[in-house]
Symmetry: C2
């Protein structure tokens, strides 16, 4: 499939989603409203995930779509993915500055240069706000910690591919503890994730993967990540069989976050962390792609999984 053919397939799928009033265009690539039907699929999928993970004793935390800028700076995200981050800026001037801003706006010139960074930054992945919260609680219990998070995340990568939104939601379970504890958790979720998605009747494969590290140095980071099999993805073809879309990811962060925020296990070691992330919009898109735009006409076995 050529790049042109891929773009055409993505544009055609996006247009069909809009024509069926599942997505609502907002005039910016990667920014969409969702219809009630689209949201219902996502809500039902979240409940399905909860049925699989809900008996493990995870603590539920729901964070807003932005985090503390200082925590964001500490996280190391800017080193790896500066191009994706979104900082929130605001007007902090007086009456005269306001007058100048309005005049600039009326002249259709750039009024945004005067905006100043606030203390908050868009959440880059649903688990980021969690680590400083856990660190503040002190040493982990002997069996570590398990947390259920879900939030809107922002990544600045405008695209016509409806599966690459600038604002999307991640549902995650995050495990914090010893290396053994978090690796066992990750394997459990590779198996569970595969079972959940298989039962939803979509073609899939699980493969080793890497994050989109920035720049020249990023190439080496990506290669290291693959060599150490730190990231697996569950891929589903949506607009291309050759380039299927990562809908779930299974990540082992080693002691990166434990080290940054000094999270300690019961025996005093630096905590390791792992997470499973569900890209819920991508999963909904995969379901619409493979089962059609009318949820009432989806295979009964699939409907039974979601609308029980």
């Amino acid at each position: 499939m050529t790049a042109d053919a891929l773009s055409a397939a993505q544009a055609a799928f996006r247009d069909a989603l809009i024509a069926h009033r599942l997505l609502i265009p907002m005039g910016v690539d990667g920014l969409y409203g969702r219809s009630g039907v689209f949201e219902d699929v996502i809500e039902r999928f979240n409940l399905l995930v909860s049925r699989h993970g809900g008996n493990d004793g995870a603590e539920v935390m729901r964070f807003p779509p932005a985090i503390n800028r200082r925590d964001f700076e500490d996280s190391g995200y800017l080193k790896s993915f500066p191009q994706l981050a979104g900082t929130i800026h605001s007007f902090m001037g007086n009456d005269r500055d306001h007058q100048a801003l309005i005049e600039t706006l009326l002249k259709k010139e750039d009024w945004t240069a005067g905006q100043k960074a606030t203390q908050v930054v868009m959440t880059p992945a649903a688990c980021y706000p969690l680590y400083p919260v856990l660190a503040a609680r002190g040493k982990l219990p002997a069996d570590g910690a398990l947390v259920d998070v879900y939030s809107y995340c922002f990544r600045h990568e405008p695209s016509i591919d409806p599966a690459r939104m600038q604002l999307f939601r991640q549902r995650e379970y995050v495990r914090i503890g010893t290396a053994d504890q978090v690796m066992a958790f990750r394997q459990l979720w590779v198996d569970r994730g595969t079972a959940i998605m298989s039962a939803l009747g979509v073609p899939l494969e699980v493969d080793v993967a890497n994050d989109p590290f920035f720049g020249r140095a990023g190439k080496m980071l990506a290669a290291n990540q693959r060599d150490q099999t730190l990231k697996f993805e569950l891929l589903i073809p949506i607009t291309s069989r050759e380039k299927p879309t990562a809908c779930l990811s299974f990540n082992y962060h080693q002691d990166h976050f434990g080290h940054v925020w000094d999270i300690r296990t019961q025996d005093g070691g630096t905590a390791h962390t792992a997470c499973v992330g569900f890209g819920v919009e991508r999963i909904a898109l995969a379901l619409f792609k493979h089962h059609g735009f009318d949820v009432k006409a989806w295979p009964q076995a699939v409907r039974d999984q979601l609308w029980t």
Copy 2:
């Protein structure tokens, strides 16, 4: 109540919410994680609202927490509330720029000046993304339109008051049509909103109000808004009886949005709009304040409203 006493009451309530693990501090005033219990109250309240408004035939739309910057510029928000708006900025440089960014960060200097404005801006109120969508559909049907929206909104006003968050959610019903249609809708929801909140056992009053317009010119805009009774609020005492908190608002925008986006009624006139907004975090806080931190110990009549 002095300003100091009010601040102390706000800080005490915030600290109690954190101690009961209902809110999770994130190191920035007005930025909190929510516990599973807190979220459940909000979800149940949303369902309660849907039971009252769900038979009116509203179209459900769910927008992400940011909107198109061009729509935001057109909306007039910057003229009235520049101090509250949040623009999203991103790094758009090359390898060398990235190196400079990281060095600035390591020196603990301000690295944010190099961030450039993206095409998206934080959603200032849940109904803002809706108007351009309706305009794109062409002339309204004879009975106008009714839409159910719900999203995270951002306002840059850091505060220790837990009822003044920087990121919070608004549930709204929005009516678009003739002046008569939208005024009848607003009165319907003043009555319904009062009934809903009365049944939840909280003290309340409905009063005329104004938005926090910026600067010297803003004082006159606020006075005009009150004179024309364009905005009513349903107020509930949370940390102060003298300064109760606006938990619902009932807004008549006249033809402001209809004019900006050229939304037309069936007979060709410029559409008028009105909305009812539920500040769901504030409503949850009011419930915790008046019924206690343990939802299982809330009065049975209140529980029956939410957990039916």
